[in-house]
């Protein structure tokens, strides 16, 4: 895809890209800190380094569109409009958290803004994304569904079955692959015999495109195109965004599996400084304005952490609620 000139995007939009990426980055760093500090009890799989995918894709979607996410979902959720307050509260296992403290990092959802859920099962979210798209198609709604997944997840059987079904019925689905070169400690080339995963789309009768996953504008553009295709009834697109995660698979991962220098190479391509540089060089946004945006992010996160830390913790017996819609006079709980 030929890249559009940066001046074709509104200043507002570009500022949003920047602010949202910063929000994702800072959210992760803050969550990691709060986990160390004891506010957050569970695991964290951070997406530091992958902010451009989360934000580029999320910005291309409308509020009515839906996403399914993964174990590395914080960026996806924020990108789709998730509120850091309720996310942080969920991570802190508090009652006003998105899932009332029942879900945690792996299961955050917000049905009001189309977040159908992070997922603890690699490959677990594909079929539901396809099903959501089926509902849109049947109801003739102008909505698409986008399913985030990793280079590891693409090998799961559910990817294949879901891509086949979506391609067959020309469902409005975007398969969004964040190829960050690793699945846990195993490099991508030891997980699949091909490097360009986008290639697989052909086998399902729809296009696969590769984008620089560290370039938020490229990601945004590709997602806009895929979304238009989906809405026009032409069916799915597979977007493969090449990127890299800067931190461990989970917090605490000793990362012994990385070749020397690899991380450093990728840090040079860190999506946020790169975008910042571009914004400043093109004189669209001033340093001062960017600092202001960054400040507002910190404020938002201070507020989120404060909210989480002061939020009530669930009461033990609440665990029995919310398994079923209808409990048949308490027979099932």
């Amino acid at each position: 895809m030929t890249q559009k000139d940066i001046n074709e995007y509104s200043k507002n939009q570009l500022a949003r890209f920047f602010r949202q990426m910063t929000l994702v980055r800072e959210f992760e760093l803050r969550a990691i800190e709060e986990r160390r500090g004891g506010l957050i009890p569970g695991f964290i799989h951070s997406c530091v380094g992958q902010e451009a995918t989360a934000v580029g894709a999320g910005e291309a979607l409308s509020k009515d569109d839906v996403i399914t996410s993964t174990h590395r979902g914080h960026g996806h959720l924020l990108g789709k409009g998730g509120d850091p307050k309720y996310m942080m509260a969920e991570l802190a296992a508090r009652s006003p958290g998105y899932c009332l403290g029942r879900g945690g990092s792996l299961h955050i959802s917000d049905f009001d803004i189309g977040i159908l859920g992070a997922n603890g099962i690699v490959g677990g979210g594909f079929p539901a994304a396809v099903g959501a798209a089926l509902a849109f198609q049947m109801r003739k709604e102008e909505r698409v569904s986008l399913t985030f997944f990793g280079d590891g997840a693409i090998n799961q059987g559910t990817f294949h079955e879901s891509a086949n079904l979506a391609g067959l019925w020309k469902l409005p689905v975007i398969f969004f692959c964040e190829n960050n070169l690793y699945g846990e400690g195993t490099p991508q080339h030891k997980q699949a015999p091909i490097r360009d995963l986008a290639q697989r789309a052909e086998g399902y009768g729809f296009p696969g495109v590769i984008v620089d996953g560290n370039d938020v504008i490229a990601v945004y553009d590709a997602t806009v195109v895929a979304r238009e295709r989906a809405l026009s009834g032409e069916g799915p697109t597979l977007i493969e965004a090449k990127t890299y995660r800067h931190r461990g698979h989970y917090e605490g991962d000793p990362m012994i599996y990385r070749p020397d220098g690899e991380l450093e190479e990728w840090q040079k391509r860190d999506p946020i400084p790169a975008f910042r540089k571009r914004l400043i060089e093109s004189e669209i946004i001033s340093e001062g304005e960017l600092e202001e945006l960054m400040g507002s992010v910190q404020e938002q996160l201070d507020e989120a952490v404060g909210f989480a830390a002061n939020a009530p913790i669930p009461v033990a017996e609440e665990a029995l609620q919310g398994v079923y819609a209808d409990t048949h006079d308490g027979l099932v709980f």
Binding site: G97, H107, V323
Partner: protein, 327 residues
């Protein structure tokens, strides 16, 4: 009242709900032109068209998961899986996604999804087409399990499933499809979940029969009647939720109990009922909680072997009699 078959009752429940609610649709392998391998959806393609009677590729995980996604978006999918044996191709989707979606989301995900699936041995279909997999799904909270044994129950329970807001695994026994029985015409005829059916009243022994084994329990009761043994036959109808109260009351009356199910004995559907009785009704028991079930070997192809492995009416009769003539 007019009589229809178990199979027709299921079709009628689906068709009625589809007529009155455009969110309901049927999705599965060969449910359209073929009318379902078991013929249950015969003719529905003509009435409802390809959009709402959707033939799919042979991809159980995607079908179930698509049902989940559509349900969360407000549709009310009926997913058909041809054989219970194939459910484990979608095992993760059922147990980790469908069953847990509501809870993990803090009660916010709505999953009005009914998975219709066949159970039981149709005869010489061997180890991968004959299983009764109800119990594989009973441990994981979040999904309801329904096992109708009569045409009326088939219709009434399916309606409850289709109007409810929770995922339901609805087990249709292959050998019951042809059975006829009275079924109310009232389009709002529903049978609540968690209410067992006392199919026959009796005083000497309670036989709890699941699905096909409820029918066999009645046959056994008939036979035992002639020998002067009065059998109370109970069909739990839903395994999750389970109507403990009706079952315990019956056992309190008879003090003897046989649990009959077609699945393998070890950790089969009736194991939970037996365990529940051992915990909550032991004081009423005058003798063991007998279990009549398939032996713990895969279902064999040969009719001789298969008959040996499967439980039948005679096994129920023997189990009942053993209360008076222990071996």
């Amino acid at each position: 009242m007019r009589e229809i078959t178990y199979s027709e009752a299921i079709r009628e429940a689906m068709a009625e709900e589809m007529r009155q609610n455009s969110d309901v649709f049927l999705i599965g392998e060969d449910v359209g032109t073929f009318g379902g391998v078991w013929g249950v959806s015969n003719g529905m393609l003509d009435e409802f068209g390809e959009e709402r009677i959707r033939d799919t590729p042979i991809t159980e995980a995607a079908i179930v998961g698509a049902g989940l996604g559509a349900a969360m978006m407000g549709m009310r999918p009926i997913v058909e899986i041809m054989f219970g044996d194939f459910l484990m191709c979608a095992g993760d989707q059922i147990l980790n996604q469908v069953a847990k979606a509501r809870f993990m989301s803090g009660g916010k995900a709505n999953v009005p999804l009914t998975i219709r699936v066949t159970t039981g041995a149709p005869g010489s279909a061997a180890a991968q087409h004959s299983q009764s997999p109800e119990s594989w799904f009973m441990n994981v909270p979040g999904i309801k399990i329904v096992a109708p044994s009569t045409p009326a129950d088939a219709k009434g329970l399916l309606k409850t499933a289709l109007r409810g807001n929770d995922p339901v695994l609805y087990f249709e026994h292959k050998m019951l499809y042809g059975d006829s029985g009275e079924v109310p015409e009232d389009p709002d005829f529903m049978i609540p979940f968690g209410k067992a059916n006392i199919l026959r009243e009796g005083n000497d022994v309670t036989v709890i029969g699941i699905n096909m084994m409820a029918k066999k329990a009645i046959q056994a009761a008939d036979q035992l009647q002639t020998e002067g043994i009065s059998v109370e036959v109970i069909d739990p109808r839903t395994l999750v939720p389970l109507d403990k109260e009706t079952i315990i009351q019956s056992v309190a009356k008879t003090s003897r109990v046989v649990v009959a199910y077609e699945g393998h004995k070890r950790a089969g559907a009736g194991a939970e009922i037996a365990a529940m009785l051992a915990e909550e009704a032991v004081e009423y028991l005058d003798g063991p909680v007998m279990r009549v079930a398939a032996k713990n070997v895969p279902l064999p192809y040969s009719p001789v072997l298969e008959n040996y492995v499967l439980p039948d009416t005679g096994d129920i009769v023997s189990a009942v009699k053993s209360f008076w003539n222990p071996t």
